[in-house]
Symmetry: D2
Subunit: 173 residues, 4 copies
């Protein structure tokens, strides 16, 4: 049933995998975003945050919508040739992909948005691979690279908020 | 060519019409949003603002993306049965439609967002008709009702900003 | 210490009280926003959601910033006579108050923003009282009415998301 | 009079100058953000965009609010010692400054937000100087560095949108 939360999370993990994205690669992007503050952080330590982000319904809906658009564009199933053209070439000023990504970031506060802007410009790791693969082939990765960036940015932001809080808790004792 | 601004505006007007929405109906929603401040405003006076909103590329991309999603969902062309189910029943907590709409509102500032929230809850005029038609039939209006609300909210906000400015200009003389 | 989470929540509850706002009044606004969906909901049932919203750091910072601005404006302590004038008359197109409020709403997703837009226009309950008191006296309530609306909108949205989830959980059994 | 648009723009330019920021320095940040796409762009070519951004009322209000907060904090005029402490040390997870900055970016669409995230992390030019000066002295630059980043990001985004359009116009002939 579509509303079942656990199922939708599994469904999104499956959709990401099918499009060539693992949770470890997203966690690696999140780690990259935190590297300035925590030099020796491992990807594993960020996997929990990635999973927590993916458990939010708002995030799941954005992932499903974005990936469905990418797939429909590359299969020519969208009834709008202008839109297909824009999406297939990942037109730099097409912004609907970023708008959907902000919907993910927003639920983790203002720091997540800043993180997203940075990794979207730097195109680290899997984001770079998705971006390149979406420009030279019949593949459309217009939405998914921003979605991956947004989930990583949100996970990094969640980690930063929790880490600070724990340190404080320790200080209080 | 996809990047041609004027063409894309015509294209969007055509897409809206095809889905049963005229610019006059959007202008009527904008007028409704301004009615508290200007009792005797006519729909005609807001048509210019609606057209100005539709000339923005960011707005055009959001309209194209939202309408393409609605059409693909109702034709069963999205490769995600969960997403199609959510969209066909216009699930109340599915928020990707509002997120895309905020992309339109945001370009006209914070007042536009407030206007959108109000008309989205009140479902005035064409928004109510779209919303109802999308719930009882094989039609999918999940994205278009929010798009129409956002364009109306943006147009009302643009009008409010300009009207105040003109009055001031007159005062200055 | 400023970073202590629990303390900051108490601090914000205190600030709100000092400006004439109780958590019960915020919960009543949240109840109003959910009344269409749950006729017999009580304010008490929404108090938990209000408290959960107030436990978020992002929300606490917005509350502190907004209330400090209102107080500084009414005490003439802002070194900008233009800004004081705008804030003291709660100029309708001054939008920094809504922008700060969106920071609160955003962390609860797109539904929270729509809820905020609605209650900001309808000015229900304590929001109406704050708004009026801020227009006729030497009091400045420019930021606090939007903050209260945003916390109520976020709490209503949190409740809606949880309620749906619980029902689903029951369905799953 | 507070509502006079031209006056408010002059007022904001004055406020920025008083806090050590020139329009040329903001234009240089905007140029930096466009350097990947236009290698030989000069700061002068972006000054017009900076001025256009500063002519928007929404932007003016955000600038006035942010600078008033910085000044009131460093002069100890805010009636909230927690908030003053957070602002004086520019606490990394204090997000009200970014939220206000997004209000500026949003009016120039999704690309502006991405630009902001990037320059906020990279802290180029005047942004770096403001950030450093706000951490080691009795100076508070918590809001102004984000405001400058947001105006630069908006100006770069405006330039990108216009540049593409002009090229297209030329192509059409």
């Amino acid at each position: 049933m579509a509303e079942d939360i656990l199922d939708l999370q599994d469904h999104c993990v499956e959709l990401l995998k099918e499009r060539g994205v693992t949770l470890e690669e997203i966690a690696d992007c999140a780690r990259y975003l935190q590297a300035d503050y925590h030099v020796d952080l491992t990807t594993d330590e960020l996997l929990d945050s990635v999973r927590a982000v993916l458990s939010k319904r708002e995030v799941q809906y954005a992932i499903m919508t974005g990936i469905a658009l990418d797939k429909a564009a590359e299969e020519g199933k969208l009834d709008d040739s202008y839109l297909i053209e824009l999406m297939m070439k990942d037109a730099p000023l097409f912004g609907a992909d970023e708008v959907l990504a902000y919907g993910i970031c927003n639920t983790y506060g203002s720091i997540a948005l800043t993180n997203f802007g940075f990794i979207d410009k730097r195109k680290y790791g899997i984001i770079r691979r998705l971006n390149r693969a979406g420009k030279n082939t019949g593949k459309c990765n217009t939405f998914i690279d921003d979605i991956v960036g947004a989930v990583a940015a949100a996970a990094a932001s969640r980690f930063a908020h929790r880490w600070t809080r724990d340190v404080e808790d320790d200080d209080d004792k």
